[in-house]
Structures are given as structure tokens and as C-alpha cells.
Amino acid sequence: MSEPLVSIQNLRVAFRMEDGEPFEAIKGISFDIPKNRTVALVGESGSGKSVTSMAILRLLPSNAEFGAESKILFEGKDLLQEDPHALRKVRGGNIAMIFQEPMTSLNPVFTVGDQIMETLMLHMGMGRRAARQKAISLLTECGLPEPERRVDRYPHELSGGQQQRVMIAMAIACEPKLLIADEPTTALDVTIQKQILKLVADLQKARGMSVLFITHDLDVVGEFAHEAVVMREGEIREHSEIRKIFESPQDNYTKALIKCRPHLGRRPQRLAVIDDFMQGTPYKEPPHRPRGYSHGDEIILDVQGLHKTFFSREGLFGKRAFDAVKDVSFKLAKGKTLGIVGESGSGKTTVGLTLMRLHEATAGKAFFNGKDILSMTPKEFKAYKRRIQIVFQNPYASLNPRFTVQDILTEPMMLHGIGSGAQERRRLAADLADRVGLSSNALSKYPHEFSGGQRQRIAIARCLTMKPDILICDESVSALDVSVQAQVLNLLQDLQDEFRLSYLFISHDLSVVKHISDQVMVMHEGVLVEQADSDVIYANPQHDYTRELLASIPRGWPRDSFNAEGALAEA
């Protein structure tokens, strides 16, 4: 192999914390980015992958310090030693970068054209007119529909996927030799994600540039990266060809990462967790779990013709109606899981919130044990409230930060008169905390002292205090790292097995839904497009939209979708 484009040597990054203590985020890593190759930097949160990518362009905040021997060589020059002027030439010129949140990463008050032209004028010395023409052609290249019109649009007038295309257009404007993509698709829907990934892969090939692709999801890069660097806690665990990573991973952590992600192709009784691999004993996959509604299932919740309309003000006195949920009917069986999948705006969350009466339904009935909970007065509903509970998506937001875990767990009991007194409620809370796998001293702590996975356990424990019949999981595992996600999914499964809970499992992640659901309903723009047992629907989707959705799921390895030739490039 020839001279690498970028060579990272013994990179150490420490952040000086508020208390003056240094926190070492990157602990002396070295790897190369060869020319014309896509290198994936994979890791969970806290692994240091983003810090590494930011370090290359020296975009880290001012409290970051590099180790004395650290070097980032770009075409032989150490970027860490470059003066600001030379560094600016590299930034945007030779090395370009795209970010996770295209909305906030674009300046909201300039048109997208202006922002692309700015780079062109800066690095290529173009005039406005030329830059504009070039910007339009770049947008065309990046697949933005109607580029002539959209070049004058402001970022907020574009969709998330379009914004990311703009970011990419901006990044490739000056023919960079290296494109750093920092989780560019994490905030996007799965169908859009696929398009963007394809775009990056195509551009890489067409332009012969190198790409450093940062992601937490190995499956995403499996499709098109040439090699992968797996990071954990500031260290590199494994660095090899992508094929090797999937087919013969050497490092236990890599192995765990591959296994703990639910997969469309298999459904073990329990998902693997990191600990299964790290103890040194070889991992044996548990047997397959069959799923599906069966005839004798007791229907605990029967939703008929659920409809929800939101209104917004428009014109002089007018209102604009927006139907978030249109005539949705389904049945939830006792002890079973009904998955609801759909992309953002599909109305899946609205269904959950409406059933909890966190929104009032516009029309429809929901029979819970034969009673329509939607038409009850709030007073009547109060008794039912404890029987349907919800676990929200963001474990950081769903727990009151000013409450201790004990407060959080005893509050519902107090409100519903569960337990004979404070003493007993505390005991019950301790039992539940234990049940969801929290340590014994957890009760006196505050939510911010816990990790995301632990917080989600607290949220689940809170629901369990009321011994509900139905648990609505609204994207409950989406924000978690894959390893933690596996733990929480296992917990949910255990609880279902133990308490015969019924789950309404709402998620955009089809793999997860496939793993946990007995029956799946697919929603699109407020409409239920398809509903069937999960194995059935994944094996044999009836609706075009379902098929599109399924096709968009990153499959990791073996790569099967858009980039078959990519694999060939390897050989």
C-alpha cells in the first residue's frame, strides 16, 4: 500500500475538567487513513470516536489538550503543529467534514447557496457567479431535487435529508482529499439514511477521496466501508478490513458489538450483552424464540378507528387541520407485544400518547377490558391510568432531575394508594429497583448520576410500581447504545415473561421491533399500512412502503444492497 493520506500517531486527547482534573478521552491511538478508501470509526458513546474526528481538524473545544508525542500527519505535515493560517487552508479545502445534526450545523440565517458558495469563494477563489453555478452543480451531484430553486432556500426550509445533502455538497465543494463524516445519518429516518449512505459511497468512488466515517452502528458501515476501527473508552480494540470485522472478529468487544444488535435474520431468546463476551468464556447463542399472536390470545386492548387531528392557526381566522392518526384499529393481546414501526411523522407516537390520554383522541374507541377508556371522564380514567403505563424515548428527559430514584418510584404508589405507608412504599421501591437490576444504593441517588441504560431501568421500574397491564414503550431503547439496548430489551422480555405484561412497542428501528414483537403494524403518514405477525411481515411484506422500509435497513455483512461492487473493490 502506498503512503497513507492521514496518519494518526499516538494521539492522546485530554479535557481539562471544571475541577481542573484532566479527563483523558483518547488514550494514545494510532491508525492510518489510506488514500481512496473509506475507514469507519465505530464505537459506542464515550469511545472517543467523535473526539478523534474533531482532533484531525483541531475543532475540539479550548479545554482539550493533545499529548506531547501525538501527531496527525496529513500528506506528511503534522496538523497539530500547523499555524492557524495553514490549518485554515486544510480545513474545508483538503479535509472537509459533515456532522450529525445538519439542522444546527448549517447557519440558519444564510441560504444554503450562500453557505456553499462561501467555501468555494474562500478556497477556490471563485467569483459569486461562478460559485453559484458550481453550488448548483454540486447540489445536483448530491441529489438535491430542484437545485436551482433550493439553492436560495434557507436550511429550515429543507428536510433533514436534504439538509444533509447540502452539508455534503458543501464538504465536497473544494475537492477534499478526505471527507470526515461524523454520524451523518443518525438523526435521519432509515429510508433517508440509506440514500445518504449511498451518496457518500458514490461520491467517494467517483472522486477518489478518502472517507472517515464515524458511527455507533456497525451495520451501517458494513455496507460500504473498506476498513473499520473499533474503539472503546478511548482505545482502539480492533482495526481491520471490514470483511474480517464481520466474519472473523478478533476482539471480544467487536464480537459483542456484532452480536448484541438485534438482527432481522435471527431472534434469540435473549440478546447477547457485552459481559457475555468480556468474561473470556466463549459465547453460545441461546435458542430461537418463536413469536406471533395465537388464536386463544386474550385481547386486552381493542382499538377501533382511532383518529387524532391537530389544529394550527392559519390566515386571518382560519385553522389548519393536520391528521396525525387516521382511522387506526388494532388489538393488543395479553402477554404479547405489538410493535408499531414507522418513520418520523408517521403518527406512531401519537397513537401511544392518545391511548394514554396524554392527548385527547379526536375519534375512535379503545376498549380496555371491555371499557372504552377514551370516552371516560378524567375521573373515571384515573383508576385505569395505572394499568396502562409508558416508557419514553429519552431516559434523560423522562425522569424528573430534581427527584431521587426513591421519590420517582414511590410517587406513583403514593398517588394511587399502593402500599400502606411510606415505609412499605420504600421497601417496594427497593424491591423493584433490585428487580430491574439497579444496585441497592441507587434509591438515594438522582437521575443524572446514572447512565442512559440505568435511567431507562428506573423509568421501567416506575411503571412497574403500579403493576400495569399494558406498557407502551415509545422508542424506549432508541437512544441507547447497542450494548445497553440489548440489556434493556432483555429486561423488557424478562418482565413480560414474569408479569405477562402486554407491550405496545413503538420504534423506528425495524430490527428491534422484529426482535421483540409478536405482531407488527407499519404506519405511514398517520395511516396503518400493514399489520401482521412479525415473522410474516418481514418475510413477506405486502405493502410497497413496508418493502421500501425493509429494504432500507442496513444489513451489515454480508452486504447485499447497493454496494455489492464495493465489496469487490476489496478483493
Binding site: 471544571e18 475541577d19 400518547l353 394514554m356 396524554l358 384515573k382 391510568k385 395505572r386 403505563q389 409508558i390 419514553f392 424515548q393 429519552n394 428527559a397 423522562s398 425522569l399 424528573n400 432531575p401 430534581r402 431521587t404 410517587e411 406513583p412 398517588l415 394511587h416 444504593n441 438515594s444 441517588k445 438522582y446 443524572h448 448520576e449 446514572f450 423509568a459 416506575r462 403500579m466
Partner: protein, 352 residues
Amino acid sequence: MANEKGSRSLWALGWKRLRKDHIGFVSLWMVAAFVLLALAGALGLVASGWRNEVAKPYAPPTLLKSLGPKHVQLTAENIDAANKASEQANGQPSTGTSLTADEDPLAGDLAEASKNEGQYQEAATQKAETLPMGADLRGRDVLQKVLKGTSTSMLVGLMGSLAAIVLGTIMGGFGGYFGQKIDDLLMWFYSVFTSVPDMLLLLAFSAVLRRGISTVILVMALTSWTGTFRLMRAEFLKHKSREYVKAADAIGASHLRRMFVHILPNVSYLLLVQFSILTVALIKYEVILSFLGFGVSVTQISWGSMLAEAPAELIQGYWWQMACVTLFMSILVTAFSMLTDSLRDALDPKVK
């Protein structure tokens, strides 16, 4: 990360951050010292004798005596003597009035009373020539006045902003949380109040109420709740759709519980910041109020009522009362503002 360090609430974390912030921490101590001083003043432990005329009128500060003007200070005795001289010249009686005993219905009673007046005679006290911070028109100790004034001004500032905060929070909370008709009504109220110039509201409210500390506090609360209302309305609006509040709804917490047990503690750091901003503003506001004649009553003293005397004193060259108040006020207000900045940084849950 904090696990091994034991459990800490957000408040405790904020406190920890505040202690790290040297400026903030020093400011905190200074504010605390002022609060203690204010309490001591309110309880009469400090400067309870501020109304005593202990020195000659406008006695200069001891150390800066030479910087004071050398005006002759007239005393009641001078006036008495001068009047006596002119009375004698005019042939007026030297004591009593021109009424004869039978013309004055009280003559007999007065004669009788004069036998008992001994118990009310007060020995003349020696008046000091200088004082550490000088004296005012009536020979009162400026230092004592400013200490007592600290007490009043801080009481006014703290209570005024507390009242404004309570008013603003309750209204803002209901408006933001419930929205719809209640919000429309409260917003209407808000826009009415913000559309009327403060000065007019102030003059109008002051005109209805009696003079005194409680009035000043009330007037301040009535004219300054709007900022808190706006802030709290926005916060409640934001928080009510947060997942933890929805979760509270899901577990069956009532509206009031959600508002005051769940949301309020989460926005209270903003209230604390708002509180200290308002306190500073109101301490300064009190000065203007006093200048316009709406300050505290005669038996009370505040920084504002002292500064209201400043324009007249300055043209006579008596600069010390103004200097003394300005010094005290700057120290407190600067410390308070610094503390506010530090609090804002320390308590913001985003910064972790």
C-alpha cells in the same frame, strides 16, 4: 461519573460548582455578610440609634476633615439668642406669650404642670465635632444611617423581588401550563401592564397607598412581576411537554402536582437567578422611588432616602453621605451581580 462520589442533587452539584468559582464564592460571602448586616439591622442589633443626633450638623468624616467645607453651622441656640434680642428690642415678653394669666385658659394648668416638668428634663448631650463617616443635616451618624439603610434597602429589594417572583411565577405558571383561555386572560393582563409606562403605574400605585416599606415593596411587586411572568410562562410551556411531566401525567399526578412538584423545582434555578437580578434592580429602583418622593417614611431610612438628600448636600459641599451610600451600594450590588452570574453558570443543568 459521579457515582463513586456519592449521591448529589443538582442543587448540591451547583453548590459544588459555585465553590469552585472564586469570584462567585467571594461574592456569595459578601452578599451573606450584607444579609447578616441587614438582619442585625432589622432586629435592632446594629445601628438602632441611627436617629440620635450625636454630632453637630454636617460634622465631617474624621479622617477627611479637611475635605469638608467650612460653613458656619447654626444651632437652635443661635436662633433663640437672635430672636430674644429682637424680642427685647420690640418689647415682647422674654418668656411665655403676650397673654396675661386670665387671658390664657391654660395658665393655671401650665403653672401647675411646670412643677412636674423636672422628670422630663433631658441633659444636653455633647455633640461630636467629627464622625467616622461624617454626619447629616441633623447631626445623625452617616455610618449608622447607612448600616440601617442597608437593612431597609435589602429588605425592600429582597421582599419586593420575592413578591414579584411569586406573583409572576403563579401567573406565568398557570398561563404557560394550562394555555388556552387562562393563558389568553393572563396574557391580556400582561400586555396591559407592559403597555402602560412603568412610571405611571408607579405614580398611580404610590398615590393609593400609604408611605412606608410595605408600600414600596408592594409597588415594586406590582410593577415588576411581568418579567418573571414572561419567563415562567415560557418555561412552563416548555416543560409541560417534556417527557418527565408527561410521565407524571401518566402516573396520575394532578395538574397542580405537575406544576408545583414537578415543573417548579426544575425551573427554580431560573427563579433564583431572576430573583437576584430583580433584587439588584429593585435596590436601585428604590433610589429613584425615594428621589421622586415615594420612598420610606420619616422613621425609616433607606439608601434611596439617603441619596435623595444628596443633590441638596452636594451643592453645599457635603459629599460624604452620597459617597458612603454609593460605596455600600456598589459593594453589595457588584457582589450580587457577580453572584448572579456565577449562579447562572453553576445552576444551569445543561452545564454538567
